[in-house]
């Protein structure tokens, strides 16, 4: 098959694991995949201490660094609207989410923005990986986070509204990129205010 990223033909080596266990076949060639750099450690968000968001998120994990390869990937995926690229990280995401327990909640897009982009990139990543999720949040502000400073982002009025029932359980937020942490903390607060016991977060990229 051909690599989803560079288009050149490649063959993935068969492994015992893929023969015996269920494994999503890679959709990109090794040469493209090794350019993505993994980060294993949890994201430090101590900068939220002393704000109203302190304690609203218990743990954040970012899977990859925001390097040149990732920038290109995200550009082609989100802005050039190449939905097929949602499959590139399917196996990785499946692996990570298998180790967690909780209700998975993707960070939503504003409906109007979603209509313009024609798809919600965060949902598609989960769909490709076959991970079940629940839409518990809806976005009410249209303004884009990317154009604001951290201070502006935190002072902004509530970004999310909860749709559906929040229980005393663990929730795992999922987003494509963690930059200042404002989005994740706002979403965490929305869930904890309504009784969630624990809120973890996983993002594909640590910006």
């Amino acid at each position: 098959m051909n690599c989803l990223i560079c288009g050149s033909p490649f063959q993935s080596a068969p492994t015992w694991k893929s023969l015996i266990l269920y494994e999503i076949q890679p959709n990109a060639c090794t040469r493209c995949l090794i350019k993505f750099q993994k980060t294993d450690h949890a994201i430090d968000f101590s900068d939220f201490q002393g704000t109203v968001y302190e304690g609203m998120v218990d743990e954040v994990t970012g899977l990859y660094t925001y390097n040149a390869a990732m920038k290109n990937y995200l550009h082609q995926y989100k802005f050039m609207q190449d939905v097929a690229l949602s499959q590139v990280f399917a196996e990785q995401l499946r692996h990570v989410f298998n180790q967690t327990e909780g209700i998975i909640v993707p960070i939503p897009m504003h409906p109007e923005k979603k209509r313009i982009r024609t798809f919600a990139q965060v949902d598609e990543l989960l769909k490709s990986a076959g991970i079940p999720f629940q839409h518990l949040l809806t976005k009410i502000a249209t303004s884009e986070q990317g154009k604001k400073s951290r201070k502006e982002r935190l002072e902004a009025s509530t970004l999310f509204e909860v749709i559906g029932k929040v229980e005393a359980k663990t929730y795992i937020l999922f987003d494509d990129i963690y930059t200042t942490g404002a989005t994740i903390h706002q979403a965490g607060k929305a869930l904890k205010d309504l009784g969630a016991t624990k809120v973890e977060a996983i993002t594909l990229i640590k910006g």
Binding site: M1, R31, Q81, D82, A84, I116, T118, F119, A120
Partner: protein
Amino acid sequence: MPDQQVTEFLTGRIWLREHAPFPREVIDAHIESGHIHLKPGIDSSQSTFLFWQLNKYVCNRCHNSNQTLFHTFDCARCNKKCVYCRHCIRMNRVSSCSELILWNKEPARGVKLHEFNWSGTLTPLQQKASEELLKSVERNESHLLHAVCGAGKTELLFPAIFASLLEGKRVCVAAPRTDVILELFPRFQKVFPKTVIHALYGGAPDQEGFAQLILSTTHQLYRFEEAFDVVFVDEADAFPYYADETLQRAVVKAAKQGATIHYVTATPTDSLKTTNKSFLSRRYHGHDLPVPMFESLWGYNRRLNKGKVPQKLQEWIEEKQKNNIPFLVFLPTIDMLENFPGDLPRVHAEHPERKEIVMQLREKKIPGLLTTTILERGITIENVHVAVVGAEQKIFTASALIQISGRVGRSFNYPSGDIVFFHHGITHEMDEAKSSIERWNKL
């Protein structure tokens, strides 16, 4: 009355409605008046095979019909299953719910006022080929201009292009690579100072007016339909043109019905069929083409994997460095290029500073350069010597090897130089390249 700017822009083009560089109301008004015609982005046809429903898609912009390059998803715009073409996605996505716009009536017309400002001289051979091409263009018969590397083929096109422009025809010079378009643009602007010329390539700036002469990468022709009266395809043998059928179809689609397509190449393939043919076997400076030497480099792969440069190759590189001769070493794969021992600078297709590094070699700021086949054509470096490592590998076809050999001895002051094929066994392709060059030298 249609808007002049819209007319000039859209005549001959096929464009995504949502990305048209005009306000939405303006486009809507022209659709209403019948000046703009709409086409769906993707055509689909269904067939049943036993109990299977098979969908077959074709992209109406790039005419891609390779089904693995279509992707289906739940579209939040049309709320249906939508299909989009991944093949031409770099030019903004075409999907089933997007519309393409085409200019339908009252097209923009070319003018007949042009100036031909060229005072160079042609060699008798160039002159003959140039006249033959002009005759074919006037008779509307397709022509293949086969000219060896360094023969000076661009100049030959000028008279035929000028004659076409004077008749008010719209002319396109297409080439597979951006580098070539960038090199041609200033030359053409000088030669045709009164003609509106646009240069189109990925990332090109917006250009105004109705261009009667368009220099375009073959990729950009996806965005044209029935636009040109005369088309010249330069370097018709270059990657990716010969390997990508949609690019070949794009050229045909961009030409008006009944228009002729002419080809210019140093290594014609049998698939290029034209009515007439000219052959230019001599370089403009009159000297022979450098003939490749075969040099065995047994087990070079194993040696390179150990982090060592094979001895013969090492000696060749050292000799060039000692004598201050710029050199290029062509390698078959990006892997080998990246892992090549030592600190020689290296470039491949994805290298962001490719142009700058080639410039440094030209200015002798670096002794030599490792490269993939990306530099096989279109570059001229005075007195450069060339080595091909792993010349037996599949990527080095006869035409690639002829092009690579064509980098040597192009300048008047240094008409010769080394071209060495380092190999682990001699292939048919290597033999063919060498014998073709020897044959042309004898003509």
